[in-house]
């Protein structure tokens, strides 16, 4: 039997009240990844966190706060790889320009992308005319 493919596609308004929903989906998905040999409870928290941070980031950078603006989150699991794509229509940002936190002089902001980069295996951000996509990969 070939490994199961799971794909979850969610579109939410750019409102932080939906972060809990998105994070919870990540937690549930962690329990469905049969092939994962690591700490599944930790994976559940990490997926919750990464989805929460990536979505909050997209909401923060949203073009306007009108209710019609949306964030699309796509989660795809195939064999040994989990891919998260978060699409936004905001002005975008430079992923490489986001500094690593200064642990001796911690700041209130900037820890979100640090969590994503630290807990996942690959992070890219691509700006396109019709929107931006943050792509996050975790090898299982």
């Amino acid at each position: 039997m070939s490994p199961a493919i799971i794909q979850v596609d969610v579109i939410i308004p750019t409102q932080t009240r939906y972060l809990d929903l998105i994070g919870s989906i990540g937690e549930h998905i962690a329990k469905e990844v049969d092939s994962y040999a690591g700490d599944r409870e930790a994976l559940a928290y990490h997926l919750n966190l990464v989805l929460t941070e990536a979505t909050a980031n997209a909401i923060k950078h949203a073009h306007d706060k009108e209710a019609k603006d949306t964030v699309r989150i796509c989660i795809h699991i195939e064999e040994k790889q989990l891919t998260i794509k978060v699409y936004d229509h905001g002005q975008g940002f430079d992923l490489e320009a986001v500094a690593k936190p200064d642990f001796d002089h911690p700041k209130e902001n900037g820890m979100g992308l640090f969590f994503i980069k630290t807990l996942m295996d690959s992070v890219t951000y691509t700006q396109q005319a019709d929107g931006n996509v943050l792509e996050i990969i975790k090898y299982l």
């Binding site: 409870e41 930790a42 928290y45 966190l49 929460t52 911690p106 700041k107 902001n109 979100g112 640090f114």
Partner: protein, 112 residues
């Protein structure tokens, strides 16, 4: 954000009554901590027993409270942190910044 505030042993004890602190409610936490710092000079103890998830904005709100308290020669202590949440402090090295106690009684004892 739901929380309970009480005065015990000359400390302001803020018990967070949420399972989750994220960008949706962290601004409330930040504002409440700022108000507590401005109200008086007693140590502030934040009880996190019920919190099973915290994100970067939640950590940022606590860090803001810590810095505000220090600026007024006060202090902010954290108690009863669940292990998965504590891991987030460890990844960001914030466990070296905050005074963290396993139980509230240990936090009280450290003040006397």
């Amino acid at each position: 954000m739901n929380f309970k505030l009480e005065k015990r042993n000359d400390c302001q004890v803020l018990t967070i009554q949420e399972e989750r602190i994220d960008a949706h409610n962290s601004a409330d936490l930040k504002a409440e901590l700022l108000q507590l710092v401005e109200q008086g000079d007693e140590p502030i103890i934040v009880q996190l027993e019920q919190v099973r998830f915290i994100d970067s904005s939640g950590l940022g709100a606590l860090l803001s409270g810590h810095k505000q308290a220090l600026a007024k020669s006060g202090k902010l202590l954290l108690v009863n942190i669940q292990q998965p949440v504590l891991s987030m402090f460890e990844i960001t090295r914030l466990n070296r910044v905050f005074e963290i106690y396993t139980t509230i009684n240990e936090a009280f004892a450290a003040q006397s």
